[in-house]
Subunit: 158 residues, 4 copies
């Protein structure tokens, strides 16, 4: 361990630094900040939703939280895939990014709305609705920033 | 291990049997077979793409396979999320299924087309193109079978 | 789609064919068959467990199936990671494979035992116990087949 | 969207707040801080490793970074599974947590050491080695904090 240890404390902001350190420029959008925010919001939402599913499962009224748990798990799966894919910059801008962002936005919307219904009774749902809302907004902003070219299908030459 | 071992040999066809054993009926589509095929095609494609990324990485001409590896990893991520989500039948038919299927179909199309370009030289790309093609067709069939109601957004009541 | 379509019907057995088509030889174990079986068992178990979590969630007695759902989700996560990692053959035999196999085996054991308890009442738990048992056995066989060298940590030179 | 929007800006620190909001107490360890740090370090490492694989893939010397990419992908898979599982508190302390933590620690060690070798030439490897080191330390601390009871297998009653 000593061999690869650095003396400095663990630094944060890893994703922003990774996207900047990539040998290829950010090709997906001009606004690097919007991409970083969306990637981070996707991963944050994926984790929060996964934890919310587990917290709902432990609630006494679990039977009434079935739809919430299901949407939590779905949202976690879509957000995790979106985060990984958006963070890739090699051979960038694949033709399915727009549909994936739409699916991610809609998953956050559905999960966030359901969590919001339970927010008054369950703090974990309140926090999760927050994460969904942030991710939904980030997906919308990135969708708006995507170049028109990538809106059409079939124009991708890797 | 003996405690929970059954004497019979491990049976296959687990996904079909799981979807049938679900306490809620298949609500997403009327044709159970189309759903099973799509779930299985998604998981099969996810695994094959993940393995193809690794096989491409070991090729001497890896530098020319960058786009292929990237699309392999993307396709694996989208297909895995789609497989998990489509297999869920609790509080079924969430409003993002259509966009997710579209993203999955487009990812299989892009990855399959790229793999097909290398199919003559790399058997793993040939096998992967096959898996992508199967998954693309299964997504298209499921999209066609989805009820019109789920085409509009915002009409989902969990 | 026609551009990259092959006339033949979708073939199966993709994972076995992928592992054989890899440019690097199978370095992890001498018995290729044991590796293929373990990779397939891991992915099959991951999918079945994910579906069992959802089926349990829809049961009337969901409150009594909390531990089962939690173990289902855990087992799905470990098996999915194990399947992906074991299928990689580039720079093979990383030093964490043994611990990962042990964790996967133990997750299958715990999840299978819990599912077995509900097998009489829930067909999905019976099928899931089957998938867990198969994966547990495949992990044990692969663990037994691993060369002694990889048992020690710190001897890995990528 | 307005329906479930809160006026406040998106708050951070979601994982810590989720773990605190869980209806079941943290059963895995007495030190909540150590658990939160480990979950966050796992997810951070998974994301950073996934991004490092992509950045390595775009490097001119990609052929020399094969082992790094493979270990990046492996480490991402193990860390992601570990993060999800550790964040669950329902029916807590499953018997495979110790092996999983060991596998995660070893994956971070191997990936971090390989990235460290390229840190002088590739900033993304330097950042990734940092994330691996942090996660390795967090896993070690959590392993040390685990109660003795969970060290033995087979003593788990869900």
């Amino acid at each position: 361990m000593a061999a690869h240890a650095s003396a400095s404390p663990p630094l944060q902001d890893h994703m922003r630094r990774m996207l900047r350190a990539h040998p290829a420029p950010v090709a997906l959008v001009r606004d690097e900040g919007g991409l970083v925010e969306c990637v981070e919001a996707c991963f944050d939402c994926a984790q929060t939703c996964s934890a919310c599913a587990d917290a709902c499962l432990a609630e006494e009224m679990v039977a009434e939280l079935r739809a919430c748990i299901r949407l939590n798990l779905d949202c976690a799966d879509v957000c995790d895939a979106a985060g990984r894919i958006l963070a890739r910059q090699t051979a960038a801008d694949p033709p399915f990014v727009r549909d994936l962002l739409r699916a991610c936005l809609a998953a956050c919307q559905a999960c966030g709305a359901e969590c919001e219904r339970h927010a008054a009774h369950h703090e974990h749902c309140r926090v999760c609705a927050e994460a969904c809302l942030r991710c939904e907004a980030a997906c919308q902003q990135l969708l708006d920033a995507l170049p028109v070219a990538s809106r059409a299908r079939g124009d991708y030459v890797p």
